[in-house]
Symmetry: C3
Subunit: 256 residues, 3 copies
Amino acid sequence: MKFNNIGISISSKATIGNNVRIGDHTTIYDNVVIEDNVVIADHCIIGEPLSNYYDNPDEYENPVTVISKNSLIRSFAIIYCGCNIGQSFSTGHRVTIRENTKIGNYCRVGTLTDIQGFCKIGDYCWLHSNVHIGQGSNLNNFVFIYPYVVLTNDPTPPSSTCNGVFIDEYAQIAVSSVILPGIRIGKHSLIGAGSIVGKDVEDFMLVVGNPAKEIKKVTEIKSRETGESHYPWPFRFERGMPWEGIGYEKWLKNQR
Amino acid sequence: MKFNNIGISISSKATIGNNVRIGDHTTIYDNVVIEDNVVIADHCIIGEPLSNYYDNPDEYENPVTVISKNSLIRSFAIIYCGCNIGQSFSTGHRVTIRENTKIGNYCRVGTLTDIQGFCKIGDYCWLHSNVHIGQGSNLNNFVFIYPYVVLTNDPTPPSSTCNGVFIDEYAQIAVSSVILPGIRIGKHSLIGAGSIVGKDVEDFMLVVGNPAKEIKKVTEIKSRETGESHYPWPFRFERGMPWEGIGYEKWLKNQR
Amino acid sequence: MKFNNIGISISSKATIGNNVRIGDHTTIYDNVVIEDNVVIADHCIIGEPLSNYYDNPDEYENPVTVISKNSLIRSFAIIYCGCNIGQSFSTGHRVTIRENTKIGNYCRVGTLTDIQGFCKIGDYCWLHSNVHIGQGSNLNNFVFIYPYVVLTNDPTPPSSTCNGVFIDEYAQIAVSSVILPGIRIGKHSLIGAGSIVGKDVEDFMLVVGNPAKEIKKVTEIKSRETGESHYPWPFRFERGMPWEGIGYEKWLKNQR
């Protein structure tokens, strides 16, 4: 049993590349560009229109949406118009990505994760399940965010201020943490599970707690299994990373 | 590209008003009333039946469900039978609203929010993404609840006690907070991010922490941008509110 | 209005029992076995294939998936191939259960709950809404987990270590708690709302807080309503349990 072509609706104004497979009950709206070798699984909506489409469909023009090559969008995803998604993107199920979000190459987004629009996400970012990326968030490359993390943006709710979070490269935010509006998370830092982060976090720092406090440098964290230092993590982890097979040190030298 | 009428199923016992648009793959069950100018987007289920429908569909009679005029229900919503939803309601995606929930006028419910049934929600309430409203919760008008908040109801789980939370008008609950069973949240109060609230909260009070403690009056909170007091918020925020264009003070006088 | 047979896709290699009802827009993949008297509601995906199906559908063989008798799978569920689900299972909506998960008999899984695969769950476990069960978790019988709880598994993220949580029988984990990797939760224990649990929890212990600390024995917790001890809960709660009608004490004697 394979792709069945049941209940699919593809706009005549969409552009579909070679070797693209589209699942049952999926809708592709106007001005969506799907590059080669992309899989869009069942029950997806790609190029979801903005509010004024519902107000006045006859005069509405859908902004361009791009899903780049070699991507796999699993079932029940909703990706709004105006998004630009890099190559080799992959998702879990029920992902929602709102308008005007730019995602780099080789990113992964887990089941139920909700990206609220007007976000900028670098390359090789992994957002696990059920992450909430507030509107206006900005993630550098190689950022890892774990389940039930919330990135906020309004310092005095309700207001019309959108003061998104910035997360620098190689930073990680463990499960169920909250990053308060406008906070900057330094590179290679680690936010422990369940932290409420209300102050900027320095590079290479471990912070934990409610409210979150500096504990120590991440370089002082030992692996329970090996007893050796586990961080900075790129020296210890390479699956899916551009240094896979050659190691981070060598890759880093090649970058310079 | 517009509404395509693919895979739609509408009960012959449903009542559909004028200028109603219904998205692809959407199902409208028996005894649903959809008033004029409503949009129900793709993949929705309106009037989802109770458990005994699945046990015995031949003898089951679906309670009446009302979606009032000018509402916009975005894709993948599930609204159970027995709900009564006021006018100009709007939702994000994947909203679940269980049976016998009454929602007032001009409310908004964000993506993934789950209202567990037998709830009463006033007018102009805004529930953002991924909020969990426990069964039996009661929200007055103008209540704002932010992502990943959980309203609970069982003081000694598991039990058959359902002791819902009460939230008074203009109160706000910031991201990832938990309100314990039977708690009353006073009007104009503000619950800070990540708070676990186990005591009643007085009117106009800011509470924060795990466990949540009183910090100060909300009137003492300054906006970082203006340096002025931001609360009570209706004096500072009017988008979508009934005082938009005239200001809260004037509107309040007109109400008396 | 009943099951309409709109947009359904059932593999010719699936095995469907007697008196099975399948909702609109639902897909049943290869090698799924659905036993008698099961209801699969609308928009479900049963037997969701593994990643290599998307890479190479022509050579892919889907592992066997079993949904045992008398189960009710509500709408928008995704159950992966390789799962074995016991009898009288019931779910809310939008449940995701990844591959190679074994679930016992008489379990319930609430709306939005995400079981990440390679998990073992006993009999009579109730996972409420929006619970995240990390890969490799192991739950004994009669475990109750409440909304927004996260069970983790990686002690030094990112890594390839999967050190799942073990939860012993009759334990309960209240809303928005996090259980850190490899932790053991003792039988009849109670984890209070919003706890971050980084140490093993003894049998019959109440732990609360961030970080979670031992408070007292659960037997010392009084019901606010009756003033009597509420725990161990099986003596006070029997709805849906195997001792319903006869009481836990008598049932326990019969077990010996």
